[in-house]
């Protein structure tokens, strides 16, 4: 039993091809010809962390406006071309990254119609003034709606507490959106959507030669762009508990602290430790204590979201408002207890087995491989990141987990937001 769980099957491997395009873009390819599908992502260091504070929302709006018309296609033409090819185009956006993921049939006519449209969107957007006003109005409407939703309010406020100075804590407001001019979009696009920062990832039914050509088509007309290093996250701010009134039936409780970036040596100890604490769905400590034993919540979890700079460790639950205080205290206690003592030997073994044995499930579809590949490309992770993953999980020790949590997840420094409870 142990043998099976701990040995990585030889066929759960991903062969990554990597090169630098003539444009300077970094390209990553995993060929797979079993299905007539190709998945393509093009991403830039152009997420919300690159927003000027007084113009928060600029990065998100710029990405949306790339679809609103390019040198060759109007907005409607572009939508129709994508739909006529049977393709799906999604926006990828977070604090670090902005870009698109395109899924297309690999048959040549359809694939070319789809990638040709994407190439034009990325490289010659027109930012028409009329569509800009419309997209800004939609963004304002979405923010106002989000301000009525307890989960969204809680998340926004928690990020502001965890990152009081850092742009990871920024969120757009009607005022910051109103401050954005069309020229700001053009400037953001010119500086941030540079070929030298572009990461192109391709998974599926495309030959290496065709992928080479495609990567050039998608990036050769981009400006070079400017390098810009995101500031590190300052040491944790003093702890705060923010209570926000809301007429909801449940209180939404979030606790968090800036903790982990990609490339950090604490990555694997924190990953394995968090699996035990709150990352393992139905079997974590937080789930057991909050949901199974007390019936406080439907969803109770903790997760780590690594970014370029220290991304959050976050604990969340939602519970009937009259028991929110008890549930919050319980969550604090479970975290504090875990940070103080770490997992038991049995818990650590179970976590290792589960993460190693479950590794093939992380890469068993083209779409999952694309997501992994995009992380490797964007954050400059080693090409053997996936192959080395099981061994690195296996090598994590109890001492490493205790040490990493003690340094990175100080329970005294958790910021807390409760939305719903009136007191």
């Amino acid at each position: 039993m142990t043998l099976i769980a701990l040995s990585l099957p030889a066929d759960a491997r991903v062969k990554i091809d990597h090169w630098i395009a003539q444009s300077g873009a970094r390209v990553y390819l995993v060929e797979s010809h079993a299905l007539p599908i190709v998945d393509i992502a093009v991403e830039f260091a152009a997420g919300s962390a690159y927003d000027p504070r007084e113009k928060a929302g600029l990065a998100r709006l710029t990405l949306a406006m790339l679809k609103a018309g390019s040198s060759r296609y109007s907005e409607s033409e572009a939508s129709r071309r994508i739909a006529d090819a049977g393709a799906e185009l999604r926006e990828n956006f977070d604090v670090d990254r902005a870009g698109f993921a395109l899924r297309s049939l690999s048959s040549e006519a359809e694939r070319k119609a789809a990638t040709d449209t994407l190439a034009d969107m990325l490289q010659s957007p027109r930012f028409p003034a009329d569509a800009f006003e419309r997209e800004r109005a939609r963004a304002v409407a979405n923010i106002l709606e989000a301000e009525t939703q307890p989960d969204r309010v809680a998340e926004r406020r928690l990020y502001a507490l965890m990152y009081p100075e850092h742009p990871y804590g920024l969120s757009a407001s009607p005022a910051s959106l109103a401050a954005i001019a069309r020229e700001d979009l053009e400037r953001h696009y010119r500086t941030r959507y540079g070929s030298m920062q572009a990461v192109v990832t391709i998974v599926g039914d495309l030959s290496r030669d065709a992928a080479r050509t495609l990567a050039e088509e998608l990036t050769s007309r981009l400006a070079q762009g400017e390098r810009y290093a995101l500031a590190p996250v300052a040491p944790s701010p003093p702890t705060e508990t923010l209570r926000i009134a809301h007429p909801s039936a449940q209180s939404h409780v979030l606790l968090g602290v800036a903790a982990l970036s990609y490339g950090d040596p604490d990555y694997f100890p924190l990953l394995v430790g968090n699996y035990v604490l709150g990352g393992s769905g139905l079997v974590s400590r937080i789930f057991r204590e909050v949901r199974d034993k007390r019936g406080y919540a439907y969803s109770a979890y903790s997760y780590l979201r690594p970014y370029q700079r220290a991304g959050p460790f976050l604990v969340g639950l939602q519970t009937r408002r009259d028991q929110a205080r008890e549930a919050l205290e319980l969550a604090r206690t479970v975290v504090a207890e875990f940070v103080a003592r770490g997992p038991t030997e049995a818990e650590l073994n179970a976590a290792r087995k589960s993460l190693v044995g479950g590794f093939p499930l992380r890469i068993d579809t083209n779409r999952k491989v694309l997501e992994q590949l995009a992380l490797i490309g964007f954050y400059g992770l080693p090409l053997d990141w996936l192959d080395a993953y099981p061994a690195r999980v296996r090598s994590v020790t109890l001492a490493q987990i205790r040490s990493a949590f003690a340094r990175r997840v100080d329970p005294g420094k958790l910021s807390v937001v409760v939305v719903g409870a009136p007191d």
Partner: protein, 453 residues
């Protein structure tokens, strides 16, 4: 250059057919059905157990019991303690969960192919050996009430959907939410859950679907070993359920904390019953695509981009269901636009399709999108298993999947026009309107007050 749609059809059809040629179907003497589909792209497997029972089989007073029992299925059997199932699967590197719908209840594991027997052994065990402990039930029913608060009470758009169904249906059990009415959850006892289990959980009411890196004969051998010995049970008779004909627009308004008006419209339409001969459901699915399936669809083009009455708009139709079919249309009003203005716009677009149908270009586009979706689904073992299990569980053979692509392809502009004219009519329409209320009635429009402690 406009891509050759004939080429897309050919490529998609060839793939869909080739993929469908492979599923193998078996029946065990105890009535359990097994469908196995080989896919060797990764060393993993999906194992799903489909019970042909969902919330539409519930009776008044115990709504939500199908879903509550699904929660209790993780709380231990005569052999394993509460939570053991999850712990064992997790330690084997697997992922597991379950979901309940109006039509069926599904338990699923994703795991390395070598561990499939483990998943089968555990699922077979809880198919017949569940123990419903009163003290576990007492905790779990609280969890389900929290789930209801999270997913419905505090989500105005979900609550609106619940209101819409309760209004659209007078008799059919689709009128009650799968999560159950809060009062029914408060009144539910452990004996309700146990009775449900005894009534519906048996091998002759289950279909096991396995997709992944497996050989069918091997899966059959394991299935015989783990499921084969379970005893068949007599299933209760199922009454034929029908909704009386609707003869006029129905309306419901929901007041809830929100910023913008939101609308959901539902038209009563047929669901697929005979994949070889029905054509209307395919025509309606293509209408849904043309109305709200993509950025290029009419709703987005007209309501969001041209008139700017909506910030988003979509259309949704489930081809496959045990009960009556519904075409759902949804839209969120733009700031400063009223619900009635938005409703007029949506109904005007629908009326135009009912009167004129859609253009040949729109039809071709909708077909390409449906066929591409069928191809894209092949990327995921889980999605493939869902497709097979769903067809089986509503009483259509999984072999129907074979025909679906071809049936879509054969739909004509005239058929779309005929289906639209027949079903996109006021008499079968229900309109649900979310009337947004300020969070704090005393300071309408102000930001929520924040207090630091």
């Amino acid at each position: 250059m406009i891509p050759s749609r004939a080429a897309v059809f050919a490529a998609a059809l060839a793939l869909v057919s080739a993929a469908q040629a492979n599923p193998h179907e078996f029946s065990l003497p105890n009535g359990l059905r097994l469908i196995v589909k080989e896919d060797h792209r990764a060393p993993t497997v999906v194992h799903q157990v489909w019970y042909r029972v969902g919330s539409m089989d519930e009776v008044p007073g115990v709504t939500g019991v199908a879903h509550v029992l699904e929660h209790m299925m993780f709380k231990g059997t005569r052999r394993f303690g509460p939570g053991e199932f999850s712990r064992i699967i997790a330690e084997a590197g697997g992922r597991e969960n379950a979901f309940t719908s109006t039509d069926f209840t599904v338990y699923h594991e994703q795991i390395h192919r070598d561990r499939l027997p483990l998943a089968m052994r555990l699922e077979a065990d809880r198919m017949v050996n569940l123990v419903v402990r009163p003290e576990e039930f007492a905790q779990e029913i609280k969890v389900v009430m929290e789930e209801r608060r999270l997913s419905y009470e505090d989500r105005p758009r979900s609550l609106l959907y619940e209101n819409l169904l309760a209004t659209a249906f007078a008799a059919h059990p689709y009128k009650s939410p799968t999560i159950g009415w809060m009062r029914d959850l408060q009144n539910m006892t452990w004996t309700d859950a146990l009775a449900w289990y005894r009534q519906w959980y048996a091998p002759n009411n289950a279909t096991v679907v396995v997709v992944g890196d497996v050989r069918p004969e091997q899966v059959l051998a394991w299935a015989r070993r783990y499921y084969g010995a379970l005893a068949r049970r007599t299933m209760p008779g199922r009454k034929a359920l029908a909704e009386p004909e609707q003869r006029g627009v129905k309306r419901v308004t929901l007041k809830a904390p929100a910023e913008l008006p939101y609308l959901r419209l539902a038209y009563k339409v047929p669901a697929l019953r005979d994949p070889a001969n029905d054509w209307e459901p395919f025509a309606i699915s293509l209408i849904a695509e043309a109305l709200g399936g993509s950025d290029a669809a009419r709703f987005n083009q007209i309501l969001v981009r041209e008139r700017r009455t909506a910030t988003s708009a979509d259309a949704d139709y489930e081809l496959i269901s045990r009960g009556p079919g519904m075409l759902f249309l949804g839209a969120a009003a733009a700031k400063g636009r009223s619900a009635s203005e938005l409703e007029d716009g949506m109904r005007e677009i629908v009326a135009r399709v009912a009167a004129e149908g859609i253009s040949p270009e729109e039809l071709a586009r909708a077909k390409v999108q449906r066929l591409s979706e069928l191809v894209f689904r092949r990327d995921s073992f889980f999605a493939q298993a869902l497709e097979l299990g769903e067809l089986e569980s509503v009483g259509l053979s999984f072999r129907g999947a074979d025909r679906i692509a071809e049936r879509f392809k054969a739909i004509t502009v005239e058929q779309v026009r005929a289906a639209a004219a027949r079903y996109l009519v006021e008499d079968g329409l229900t309109v649900a309107v979310l009337d947004p209320q300020p969070l704090n009635p005393r300071s309408a429009g102000a930001a929520p007050p924040a207090a630091k402690h």
